[in-house]
């Protein structure tokens, strides 16, 4: 990128600067180490020397052009600002529908569903395992009847909806499709995302049901079904968020997510014999945006460049759309503190800015009170307003990828990329991500990183304001959301009502057909959709999966 003379001058100048800086540093006590939140060591100064062998066109280039370092969309945020998509779900379907309408009224531009734990795990609200969990951590959904309430007066042909759902993803997606149908919206007009990424569940988030192999098969079924029948749907959101939240470094988050992506693409090609260009454009991604501003921006830029190389060179995809890494971002829940919670507003704003400078397509900003409970409407509105202030007041949307060419950001982007490739190579050598998970490799790497960070915080090598520095003697309590305990009883009542009034013979028949599909290599989606139409419950459908495929148990690595 630079002429030899420039580089010679830089070397000379650096020598002088280092001598000067060395003199100044001599009087300082000890030798302080400067590192990112992931403990990547950072140099005091970056110059053309650090990026001398970068090639502008090959490594940086233009938005909308390979290798997409500067973004997938040609016009960046000038063409379309990222989607304000607030992860939201609480109590009953009625409660959540009300919150959704409120957020849309306040200028939210996409929906995102938080389900309660029984729904996430494939249990109905009347299961003994659901006791005290119904509606607590998100919305409780048992049958299509709940889903119809959830989407009441939400125009499913206009709004896109993301659903954070994994083992029962096929079931909740089927409910969405049938609910759309009932609104008169055909499947080719509905848009949205199901998370549907099980590998990161085994690695990090631990919401699992069946073992890895059948879990992958169910995912490939949904990808195939979406490719053929629901062309605007992202049938998977390959997620680094939970890997990071479980304590990984930025490099691990990136590497494990892309390695998961490789495993999914490979499985669809092998199992379904689909052309990679037919399905890859609907693969989407989801990352964390943590506190270390530049590290995050570099991670997002590296992610796009790496995935483009993976798709083009490893899988020989021809369509540029298949090379795209489009992603949603959530600010880091794990960076929020219980102590002095209002400081979380500042943390979230900084993380959101990093996500935007990294070129995210869609963003959730956490609410400051989430270290206590689900957010109040007040807190959720501030979080949404944070995005609106960034988009409409700060000028970040004016130019695309404004940090490109920064010696530091480009050098860090490359460093993160190189370290992530090393991980991917290691995983390839183990035989791919499934084998790596079976051996506990990513789980242990994350556990080590999480423990290392905790030690650094405990000995104040890393600062958390209000936690290990600037600690307040006394803190005023804040108002936080309480879920009415009546939600559980009301939900169980509605579930029983549905079970009494539906055509139970149709339910039994549909579940029998689904069981047969699971045992064969037929796609399960038509069977799931028929069961949902018959008002089979989520657990009835998931019990078929559990019966045919077995259940996975946490090996408990720590």
């Amino acid at each position: 990128m630079f002429r030899q003379k420039t580089l010679n001058d830089v070397r000379q100048g650096m020598k002088q600067w280092l001598a000067e800086a060395g003199k100044l540093a001599r009087g300082l006590p000890g030798k302080r180490r400067f590192s990112t939140v992931s403990d990547l060591e950072i140099d005091p100064l970056y110059t053309p020397e650090n990026i001398r062998d970068l090639d502008f066109t090959g490594d940086i280039g233009y938005p909308g052009c390979y290798p997409f370092t500067r973004g997938c969309q040609t016009t960046g945020y000038r063409g379309k600002v990222w989607t304000f998509r607030m992860f939201s779900g609480l109590g009953s379907a009625e409660d959540t529908n009300r919150r959704w309408h409120q957020l849309l009224k306040e200028g939210e531009t996409g929906l995102s569903t938080a389900f309660d734990f029984p729904t996430l795990m494939g249990y109905d609200s009347d299961s003994p395992k659901a006791a005290a969990e119904v509606g607590r951590c998100g919305v409780a959904i048992d049958t299509l009847a709940d889903f119809e309430v959830l989407t009441d007066r939400i125009p499913l042909d206009k709004v896109t909806t993301s659903m954070t759902i994994n083992p029962p993803a096929s079931v909740l997606w089927a409910m969405y499709l049938v609910a759309a149908e009932k609104q008169g919206v055909s499947w080719d007009r509905v848009g949205g995302t199901i998370q549907n990424d099980m590998l990161k569940e085994f690695i990090a988030q631990k919401t699992f049901m069946c073992p890895p192999e059948p879990s992958i098969r169910l995912i490939s079924d949904t990808i195939e079904f979406g490719t053929r029948h629901v062309p605007r749907w992202n049938t998977i959101s390959i997620s680094g968020y939970h890997i990071r939240e479980a304590g990984s470094t930025a490099v691990q988050e990136l590497a494990f997510t892309l390695a998961d992506g490789i495993a999914y693409v490979q499985d669809v090609i092998t199992r379904k014999k689909l052309d990679v260009d037919a399905f890859a454009p609907r693969l989407s991604f989801f990352f964390d945006s943590h506190m270390d501003f530049f590290e995050e921006i570099a991670k997002f830029r590296a992610a796009r460049r790496m995935w483009a190389k993976i798709m083009r060179d490893r899988f020989q995809a021809k369509s540029p759309r298949a090379w795209w890494l489009r992603f949603h971002t959530q600010t880091a829940g794990c960076s929020l503190t219980h102590q002095q919670p209002y400081n979380n507003i500042v943390r979230t704003a900084t993380e959101a800015l990093a996500a935007v400078l990294g070129g995210t397509q869609s963003l959730h900003t956490n609410s400051f009170d989430e270290e206590f409970a689900l957010p109040t409407e007040f807190a959720a509105t501030i979080a949404l307003r944070t995005q609106q202030v960034l988009a409409e007041e700060t000028g970040v949307v004016n130019t695309i990828d404004p940090l490109a060419g920064s010696y530091f950001v480009e050098a860090l982007t490359r460093q993160i990329e190189e370290e992530a490739w090393e991980y991917i190579q290691k995983i390839d050598e183990m035989g791919g991500m499934l084998a790596a998970i079976a051996g506990g490799f990513p789980q242990r790497e994350i556990a080590n990183a999480a423990y290392h960070f905790k030690r650094q915080v405990d000995n104040r090598e890393k600062v958390q304001v209000g936690v290990n520095k600037y600690v307040a003697k006394e803190e005023a309590p804040i108002e936080f959301l309480k879920i009415d305990e009546k939600v559980e009883a009301a939900q169980v009542k509605r579930l029983r009502q549905v079970k009494r009034t539906r055509d139970n013979r149709r339910v039994t028949r549909s579940l029998r057909d689904l069981r047969a599909a699971c045992r064969s290599d037929k796609n399960v989606m038509p069977g799931v959709i028929e069961a949902v139409r018959a008002y089979a419950t989520e657990q009835e459908i998931c019990d078929v999966y559990r019966e045919v495929f077995g259940e996975y148990r946490d090996p408990g690595f720590y």
Binding site: Y451, V457, D554
Partner: protein, 135 residues
Amino acid sequence: MSPEKKLRVLIAKPGLDGHDRGARIIARGYRDAGFEVIYTGVHQTPEQIVTAAIQEDVDLVGLSCLSGAHRHLFTEVVKQLRENGAANVTVIGGGIIPPEDIPRLKKAGIREIFLPGTPLEKILAWTRKNVKPAK
């Protein structure tokens, strides 16, 4: 702590939430400090936790819950330990727990609640001071 009598600790994740970062760090902190540690993994019912505590003959049970179901789940573990003749086992907890729930949990028999951001050393020091062998 004398090296011949190591305290035995069970770290457990009751309920359906899989947020195990805290539990795993605590398990490791205890192990590195010389305790005998058993970690249950996620998605344990109170019955499973009580069975493990009794079979493993532990002195301390550490419960972690981030789903909001802590009141029911923690209380249930203490109750079932008592019903099964293991009332001497100390039970502590942590997670996303609103401050107003803490007195209720303590009243139900959870000896201490450690909130997010608590240094490991503080939990270890509390344990050395307060936990005696259950048998």
